[in-house]
Amino acid sequence: MSGVKPNLSVNVGGILMKNPVTTASGTFGFGPEYAPYLDLNRLGAIVVKGITLLPRTGNPTPRLAETPAGILNSIGLQNPGVERFISETLPFLADYDLPVIVNIAGDTVDDYALLAEKLSRASGVGGLEVNISCPNVKKGGMQFGSDPTMAAEVTRTVKASTGLPVIVKLSPNVTSIVAVAEKVAEAGADALSMINTVLGMAIDIKKKRPMLGNLLGGLSGPAVKPVAVRAVWQVYREVKLPIIGMGGITTAEDAIEFILAGATAVAVGTANFVNPRATMDVLEGIENYLCENGIEDISELTGLAQKS
């Protein structure tokens, strides 16, 4: 070991992160929820809960079901709407020194444009994550993400409406994630997030009815990790955009798998619920791994498994 601290900083489509560890939208609230458990400044970035133009009350309950090494959720994008987000929620994060990435979701292409414009004018937003992959809403969401042409149109519209870096969050619920990624890249995306949750279902055999109020939900947690690693691997080969890898990351070892597959950064999601300090454990574990392997810069690790 050299004894020199490895360089952990990464550039995700113009978003400069001091380390590659961020949070998956919807699993970390807006920041204050986890502030008692860790120093938010140690995160590479924070990706906040999905925001829509108008407030959303969300889906009927139950909204959560536990499945083997995973959870199904159908929250339905409950959020205060973009105006209240900007005036009430965003100021909390102004006291922190980290990029704030806002996940945006719309029913229509115009919704995305308006959201991007409003958030570009707000202070303290470091980037947008375009959610075209939420499986839990009737309109928009995955409907955009499963059609490469629509995905490209949303991307182009958002890019035209903002100067902020634009990350597009991809759905695994498609025949070819590479096809969607290619179109989104052509449309001008600065980076990709992958994967959103995997569409799933669970049935309560005692009550003989679906476990979720919304019937179907999105699967996340360790159970989806191999699906996510595969998606990152496939897209990294074909598309030259930085990738934020996510899907079941619970430990540093998980995160390193994603980076070796081609991720530039990683997001911790469901694991936050189990271990509120999971992001910090992942960060420290990555740093140790780099030291132990004599790697001086995290960027050397990205996609390394593709070269073997």
Partner: protein
């Protein structure tokens, strides 16, 4: 920083089939805990089952630094939890949530508990007894053997009224039936149409029971607080899984989070579904 405590098991007793009292050494949580709050418990050590389980705080011993939980085995998580023995370590987040309000002025206190619902109310009764207050406690269960802690509660100065579904002890019927009869008699004896607001009701139990309790106290004009149970994810207000429909907000109803806005809510605010 809120601690994530690695609590050592002091002891665990099975006090009835599937019902356990778990004593944990967690001095910071014991010190900070208020009645009605909960701890978010990692039941196993593997990724399956994945989520923590919210378990209400049943009692604390601040001198000994103990947090005591009382729970019923309801699934895989609690089944694993019940296997823990003296010396084992359990990860706890907490204390979490918004608990019962402790009456500041002298009010008449009614406590209505159905089954395992006594778990958090026991802590409440312990706290008010320490400050010299007494309550009328209505304990209901399926059968006599599940009327937990009735003697301990009586010994700490409260009046206890019992009901069982099978009639094996006390009133034959539901605890809300017992409570309603009592309130009705009290109103009649005092020549009142409604109770004055110098009373307060605290309830915990199955949702059907709490809905009935809410109707009874609304009719009697008594304010109350109820502790709700919802499937929970994060426990800190981030995931919005444990949504409870409540009155208020722009559309007349809004989802609030059982984990941070509750689990205790004013009874009249809850929209029962």
């Amino acid at each position: 920083m809120s601690p994530v405590a690695d609590a050592k098991v002091i002891k665990q007793n099975m006090i009835a089939p599937s019902h356990f009292r778990l004593y944990l050494f967690a001095p910071e949580i014991a010190e900070a805990a208020r009645p009605g709050q909960f701890v978010h418990v990692r039941c196993g050590h593997t990724l399956d089952p994945l989520l923590r389980r919210p378990v209400s705080i049943h009692a604390v011993d601040r001198e000994k630094g103990e947090v005591i939980l009382f729970y019923r085995v309801a699934g895989r998580g609690t089944a694993l939890l019940s296997k823990n023995k003296k010396g084992d370590r359990i990860s706890l987040m907490g204390p979490l949530g918004h608990g019962f309000s402790i009456p500041q002025k002298k009010v008449r206190i009614f406590v209505v508990a159905g089954g395992i619902g006594i778990a958090p109310l026991y802590f409440f009764l312990q706290e008010i007894a320490d400050s010299g207050a007494g309550a009328d406690v209505f304990l209901g269960a399926a059968t006599e053997k599940q009327l937990f802690f009735k003697d301990e509660i009586k010994n700490s100065g409260h009046r206890v009224f019992l009901s069982t579904d099978d009639g094996s002890s006390g009133y034959h019927g539901t605890v809300t039936g017992l409570f309603e009869d009592y309130i009705q008699k009290s109103i009649n004896n005092n020549g009142l149409i409604r109770c004055d607001d110098n009373s307060k009701v605290y309830g915990c139990g199955p949702s059907g029971m709490l809905k009935r309790l809410t109707d009874i106290i609304a009719a009697a004009g008594i304010p109350g607080e109820v502790s709700l149970e919802e499937r929970m994810g994060c426990g800190v207000g981030a995931c919005l899984s444990c949504a409870c429909k409540t009155r208020g907000g722009e559309n007349g109803a809004q989802y609030r989070r059982a984990c941070v806005d509750g689990p205790v809510f004013p009874a009249e605010k809850v929209v029962w579904e």
